[in-house]
């Protein structure tokens, strides 16, 4: 081992002696490794962000939502259309019965009302939800409280909203205690929440029992054209939560089968956070592979540069190789010497590349829009790759050096 360390020491001295040549030879390796570290760092950060985003939707959840179909509906008459669409209580009962033991289902209604506050009118999605809804979607209270079973039991006219809607109202002291008008009814604000699944757009939430008490599932609209539309949506959203992530595919299959059997038109959609996550992760993996492959091209080019420099080195040092052989260096010693030289060079490039990559990750990730993440594994793999490049591209010059006939070389040099 000390013998190898001596060779490494001599290699470093050689690199320092030929600084400019060494730096130029290293550049391909430095940039290649920096690219690998950056790509892996951004990829890891993207994975974590995606996982976080999907996790807040609940990886055990399967979300079915009612969707308004494009066609006119079976009872269309001139100037008047009727649309019954979306999820029904019958769907809910069948889904409940079909899901594996330990599963739960929750429903939500979406109230097609406008919200008035003072002289202003808003049209945020208004979700009528059970108290458990907030938990399955990892909502956190920022101000006040969430509505609970008492509010449900007494069908109280209370509401919560997310930060986006609370800010839209522009109330100087905050919205708690303020009243908004939803349709014909006044609701009092009891809380402001952060619910990641609805981040970025304003949302309002009222107790489901209150909505069932005060609002019909049918709705009558007059359109701009003058015609009138009558819609009925029993349930806006069904959220099924299975006991484990492994049961999600089976749950999806059961729900799809049930809904396909009960619905003739495309009036529902399924969102499966786990499948979304897997899909995004698969895309990310493919992207990572492609980008790392591109970075490896840089490393191959760098390796060819190293091989070129080592071949030149061998040519320059033929006399030295001859004398080393004459005084007792075996062919194996010569191969080892030149392999250690090439690997020391590429490892040095790897270290510099890692430093550059580690500096580039936070900068690049910020540019793209999320946090990067540097893992020790990425650094170790990168250093291993640099060593392999040094060994792989150094072996041919090393073997060339070892094959030199010392007798002939000493005569010529």
């Amino acid at each position: 081992m000390t013998w190898i360390l001596q060779l490494v020491r001599d290699s470093i001295r050689d690199i320092v002696r030929h600084k400019l040549r060494s730096i130029l030879a290293l550049l391909g390796i430095v940039f290649g490794i920096a690219a690998v570290i950056t790509i892996l760092g951004i990829g890891e950060g993207a994975q974590r962000t995606v996982l976080k985003e999907m996790s807040v939707m609940g990886l055990r959840n399967i979300i079915a939502e009612s969707v308004k179909p494009k066609d006119a509906g079976p009872k269309a008459r001139r100037g008047y259309t009727r649309k019954d669409y979306g999820l029904t209580h019958r769907d809910l009962q069948q889904i409940d019965a079909a899901l594996p033991e330990g599963s739960s289902t929750y429903i939500a209604r979406i109230l097609p009302e406008t919200v008035s506050f003072g002289s202003k009118t808003f049209e945020p999605p208004i979700f009528a939800v059970p108290a458990a809804y907030y938990e399955i979607f990892n909502a956190e209270v920022e101000e006040g409280i969430l509505h609970n079973h008492v509010h449900e039991r007494d069908r109280m006219l209370v509401c919560v909203a997310n930060r986006e809607f609370a800010d839209d109202l522009e109330v100087p002291g905050g919205v708690l205690g303020e009243r908004i008008k939803i349709g014909l009814n006044y609701f009092q604000f009891i809380g402001v929440i952060d619910i990641p699944i609805h981040k970025g757009k304003p949302y309002v939430y009222v107790p489901l029992a209150t909505a069932d008490n005060y609002y019909s599932t049918s709705n009558f609209d007059r359109r701009e054209s003058g015609s009138r539309e009558f819609t009925k949506v029993e349930i806006g959203q069904i959220v099924a939560q299975v006991p484990t992530e492994a049961l999600v595919p089976a749950g999806v299959s059961l729900i799809e089968k049930t809904l396909k059997a009960n619905h003739r038109k495309d009036d529902y959609k399924l969102t499966v956070p786990l499948q979304l996550l897997e899909s995004k992760q698969k895309t990310q993996r493919v992207l990572n592979i492609v980008l790392v492959a591109i970075a490896l091209i840089s490393l191959i080019v760098g390796g060819i540069g190293i091989m070129n420099i080592m071949l030149a080195n061998v040519s320059e040092r033929m006399g030295e190789i001859g004398i080393r052989r004459a005084i007792g260096a075996t062919q194996r010693d010569i191969v080892l010497q030149f392999l250690v030289e090439s690997t020391t060079l590429t490892l040095l490039g790897g270290v510099l590349g890692c430093i550059l990559g580690v500096l580039a990750v936070p900068f690049s990730a910020q540019f793209i829009g999320f946090e990067g993440a540097i893992t020790p594994a990425a650094v170790i793999v990168s250093l291993l790759v640099s060593a392999i490049v040094g060994l792989g591209f150094g072996i041919f010059p090393a073997l060339n050096a070892a094959k030199l006939d010392p007798g002939l070389v000493l005569t010529q040099y």
């Binding site: 000390t2 013998w3 001596q6 001295r13 050689d14 002696r17 006399g319 030295e320 001859g322 004398i323 080393r324 052989r325 004459a326 005084i327 007792g328 260096a329 075996t330 062919q331 194996r332 010693d333 010392p406 007798g407 000493l410 005569t411």
Partner: protein
């Protein structure tokens, strides 16, 4: 004792040239042998075959009774490193290594520890009068100092034979004489030496000389 029997050496395969023809030579221990002859007579080739740098095309070489011609390259190299010291006309020092690093190099390939290598190198440099120049590189030395460094390197592994190919060829008269005296001194301590020279005056100082011509030993003389 080093024994050469029926040694031939041919260079090239397309138009082969035989430079040594059936050389028989015995070099007893503690011998000081001079090899003289015109340029191209095969002196250097013979020296390199004795030193196991060149492989003979045919014939046998015995080193202290061992037939080295049947050995593989690695084994021959190890014997060469331990048993043979080389001194060349153009010194053949490694320019980026210091004097002491050049001298200790044969011991490096014998896997001797760093401490022992340094100690032995310093001791031999003292013997050749260069202990004040150990950290200098070859380009900072005179011709005589370079040749003494090369001699120190050749002696550091206490070889059984020292081979010198015109060691004074690149030196001025006085420096050359000093090197010749050093060789005589070494022979006096029991080192076996084989030395090639064009210099008749030096040849006359060597106890036994052989004259090579056209790849054959023409005559042998004893001083």
């Amino acid at each position: 004792m080093i024994e050469l029997t029926g040694i031939t050496k041919t260079y090239g395969t397309v138009s082969p040239v035989e430079v040594l023809h059936g050389i028989d030579l015995k070099i007893p221990d503690n011998e000081y042998l001079g090899i003289v002859g015109q340029s191209g007579s095969g002196k250097s080739t013979l020296l390199k075959i004795i030193g196991l740098i060149h492989e003979a095309t045919s014939g046998t070489i015995r080193f202290h009774g061992k037939n080295v011609t049947e050995m593989n390259d690695a084994d021959r190299t190890r014997i060469r490193g331990r048993e043979v010291g080389f001194v060349f006309q153009s010194f053949q020092l490694i320019p980026h290594l210091s004097v002491v690093e050049n001298v200790e190099l044969p011991l490096f390939y014998q896997r001797v520890s760093r401490l022992e290598r340094r100690e032995r190198a310093h001791a031999i440099l003292k013997q050749v009068g260069l202990d004040h120049r150990t950290t200098h590189t070859p380009n900072e030395l005179s011709g005589g100092e370079c040749q003494r460094t090369a001699i120190a390197r050749a002696l550091v592994s206490a070889p059984s034979i020292l081979l010198a190919d015109e060691p004074t060829g690149n030196l001025d008269l006085d420096t050359g004489r000093a090197i010749e005296d050093l060789f005589l001194e070494l022979h006096g301590t029991g080192t076996t030496i084989v030395l090639i020279t064009h210099d008749d005056a030096l040849a006359n100082r060597i106890p036994r000389t052989i004259r090579i011509s056209d790849g054959r030993i023409l005559q042998e003389a004893t001083a």
